[in-house]
């Protein structure tokens, strides 16, 4: 299989894009007319591009062309993800400290109680559609608390967020529709930002509202900043949780092993992220002539960086297609990117995943697929790797 089969969104290729990646790694860096980009697939090369943010601009990370600077759309595109230094450094510094592990630890009890609540609600059911029941509500509820927006509105965020996220790495996207949703979202956030200015707590909405009050951010930037933070981690975390549960459901011994040794769950989380990176690849725009893996990349070229392929590069990970949570370099995968744009929410996602798995494993004695394994289907995107549905047959611990 070629990598280009993945780009064509062929269902079989989406289920297992990895032979396509192996083919790309074999070729090294090459220009793919289908992707209209240089494809970068080896670990060392992906890491080089991600760390050279001076040469490789983030302005087209999601693959969509840059909107003209004075267009309406330019006011709604993601604030961090698509920015370059020096803007990026300054923007990120506004919220960066709120997302470091030490600060996020304060949210652990809340995450645990949310996981417990969801599981309490499910433990009567023998068959559970894991995505709708757990993997979707958990991240969206957590992020509303961390940001300081009303959790009761989680349903609205979800539909906005799904629609905006689904436009990434898909074909036939209607930009007018994306703009309409973004505007609706921004209009909703306006009054919340006003209210957050006078608030005592130091949640993230209040931090952003304070930056706005200090003249650092105009309203439309403050709104798209909040919007980005609300959206960025939802489907990624949903996809990560469901991929991990699929892994456990296919391998009951693995689940038993972690039931017996919950302290090592963080390594399982990392290994799942490595093998099933929720974001398989993103783009960069070369702003100067460069060279990657011995191949010249002219200024102005689009470059596609495949995190999902780098994570299965045998030059970096021994026995790369096998789940081996005990490998020494288990955390060095690129599922969260690398360099200045490395995922802001990584510590939060890692915590949510760890607590979700602790809760799910301790409250069950077995988790199996409720449908034959061959039926699993992935969403039509070459960027987001996510299951469409995951029906599980669960034996709950009797309370």
């Amino acid at each position: 299989m070629r990598f280009e089969d993945v780009l064509s969104l062929d269902p079989a290729a989406l289920r297992c894009p990895f032979t396509g990646y192996a083919d790309a790694r074999e070729k090294g860096v090459y220009f793919s007319p289908e992707a209209n980009a240089y494809v970068v697939s080896r670990y060392a090369d992906v890491s080089q591009v991600l760390r050279d943010s001076r040469t490789y601009s983030s302005s087209i990370t999601t693959g969509a062309p840059k909107p003209p600077p004075d267009s309406e759309m330019a006011k709604y595109i993601p604030f961090l993800l698509l920015s370059d230094d020096p803007d990026h450094a300054r923007r990120r510094s506004i919220v960066n400290r709120a997302f470091v592990p030490a600060k996020l630890a304060a949210w652990e009890p809340l995450v645990r109680s949310l996981c417990t609540q969801i599981v309490d609600g499910l433990s009567g059911s023998e068959v559970v559609e894991f995505i709708d029941a757990f993997a979707v509500p958990l991240p969206i509820t957590v992020i509303t608390h961390v940001l300081g927006v009303p959790p009761a509105d989680a349903g609205r965020f979800r539909s906005w967020s799904d629609q905006l996220a689904a436009s990434i790495g898909a074909h036939n996207v209607d930009p007018g529709e994306v703009l309409r949703i973004a505007k609706e979202f921004a209009a909703y956030l306006g009054p919340l930002l006003d209210e957050a200015r006078n608030r005592e707590q130091n949640d993230i909405l209040a931090i952003i509202a304070a930056a706005e009050a200090a003249g650092e951010l105009p309203r439309h930037d403050a709104a798209r900043f909040v919007m980005e933070l609300l959206i960025a981690g939802n489907i990624t975390t949903t996809h990560h949780l469901s991929s991990t549960l699929l892994m456990l459901a296919r391998n009951p011994e693995l689940a038993d092993r972690y039931r017996g040794d919950p302290d090592t769950i963080p390594k399982l989380v990392e290994e799942s992220l490595r093998l099933e990176a929720p974001i398989q690849g993103f783009f960069r725009l070369a702003t100067a002539d460069g060279e990657v893996g011995g191949v010249k990349i002219p200024a102005g070229s689009r470059v596609m960086v495949l995190y999902g392929s780098a994570n299965r590069d045998g030059a970096t990970f021994d026995d790369p297609d096998t789940l081996r949570p005990e490998r020494a370099n288990v955390t060095t995968h690129l599922a969260f990117g690398r360099g200045i744009h490395a995922c802001l929410g990584a510590p939060l996602a890692r915590m949510e995943s760890r607590i979700a798995l602790e809760t799910l494993l301790s409250r069950t004695t077995s988790i199996e697929l409720a449908e034959p394994a061959d039926n699993v289907e992935y969403l039509p995107s070459f960027v987001n790797r996510g299951l469409r549905a995951l029906p599980l047959r669960v034996t709950w611990v009797r309370s």
Binding site: P69, D70, V100, A346
Partner: protein, 317 residues
């Protein structure tokens, strides 16, 4: 609040004032007033590649008719300074956003200004402001060679309150003596190349928290052979492992080789994921996250980039 929509301004003056430094005077084409600004403010110049570069305003805030910026030609530039040097002449128009100010001059009884090279630009209007407030101030201004240093003549009128210190005549700036004595009534403002800012941060370690203000446009960058690049020993206390960190490896890599589980993301000191508690030892901080005060306190460090000055470092890992 500053305007963020780009406007087109006219290049009304262009002068080469030092080696590789050009000063541009910008005006509104219709002779309208320009937005207000305060010392320390910068504008974004749109450089045609749908990118923008930031330049500090270095003229007089009271002059609402014109803005002045000074731009150094940077041979390693991605095109920002090249665009300004080669692409703009008197009569050109240029897209500008701003002004914005992330380096405002706060009230203080006294000021100490430290500038390196083109970092003099935001300092110039600060000096003028300190002067008009009647606050005593001094400027320590370094550069490679006298001929490469902008505004030396203009600074002449301030007499001996300005120390002009070209490196080829005086060596590196003598920060140790100007910053030796911490003062509670003085704010320090520094702008210049990264190594200078790092040195100033180190020398201000014993100053009251909040004394130092630096202008930094991008994540910190590091030379290949930074201070503290020597070999040192690290003890991972909770894991009961001791290992050696050679100059070409990070503490993170050594931890990983020792089979210690540490989370990471950016690997360059910008995300904060790998923040680790220091039990013992003197870290050399190379991250862009901790404040100078936190770095000086040395309670935690980012082990993907930071190193150690003392022969032995003990970490809570």
């Amino acid at each position: 609040m500053s305007s963020t929509e780009p406007v087109s301004l006219l290049v009304a003056g262009r002068d080469v004032i030092a080696d590789d430094v050009v000063v541009l005077t910008l005006r509104d084409a219709g002779a309208n007033e320009l937005p207000e600004w305060t010392p320390g403010a910068h504008i974004d110049i749109l450089t045609g590649d749908s990118m923008s570069r930031q330049y500090s305003l270095c003229g007089d805030p009271a002059d609402r008719g014109a803005w002045r910026i000074a731009v150094l030609r940077d041979p390693a530039s991605r095109g920002g300074s090249r665009f300004v040097h080669d692409g703009l002449s008197v009569g050109s128009t240029v897209g500008v956003r701003g002004p914005r100010n992330h380096f405002p001059l706060q009230p203080a009884e006294r000021y100490l200004f430290v500038a390196g090279g083109i970092g003099i630009t935001p300092i110039l209007p600060m000096i003028a402001a300190a002067e008009s407030r009647g606050a005593p101030w001094r400027l320590l201004y370094g550069g490679r060679r006298r001929a490469s240093m902008a505004f030396v003549d203009e600074l002449g009128r301030y007499g001996d309150r300005v120390l002009i210190r070209p490196e080829d005549e005086y060596g590196l700036l003598d920060l140790a003596s100007v910053l030796a004595q911490p003062r509670t009534d003085t704010l320090v403002y520094a702008c210049g190349p990264e190594p200078l800012l790092r040195a100033v941060e180190e020398h201000c370690g014993h100053w009251p928290a909040g004394s130092l203000h630096v202008e930094r446009f991008t994540a910190k960058t590091f030379d290949d052979e930074p201070a503290g690049a020597d070999t040192f020993e690290v003890e991972f206390k909770r894991s009961g492992v001791t290992a050696t960190v050679p100059p070409d490896k990070s503490i993170m890599e050594v931890a990983e080789e020792a089979g210690i589980f540490v989370l990471s993301s950016c690997m360059e000191g910008t995300c904060g994921t790998c923040e680790t508690t220091v039990v013992e030892g003197e870290p050399v901080h190379r991250d862009s996250i901790l404040t100078p005060q936190e770095q000086a306190a040395g309670d935690t460090m980012m082990i993907c980039v930071s190193r150690c000055r003392s022969p032995r470092l003990v970490l809570d890992l």
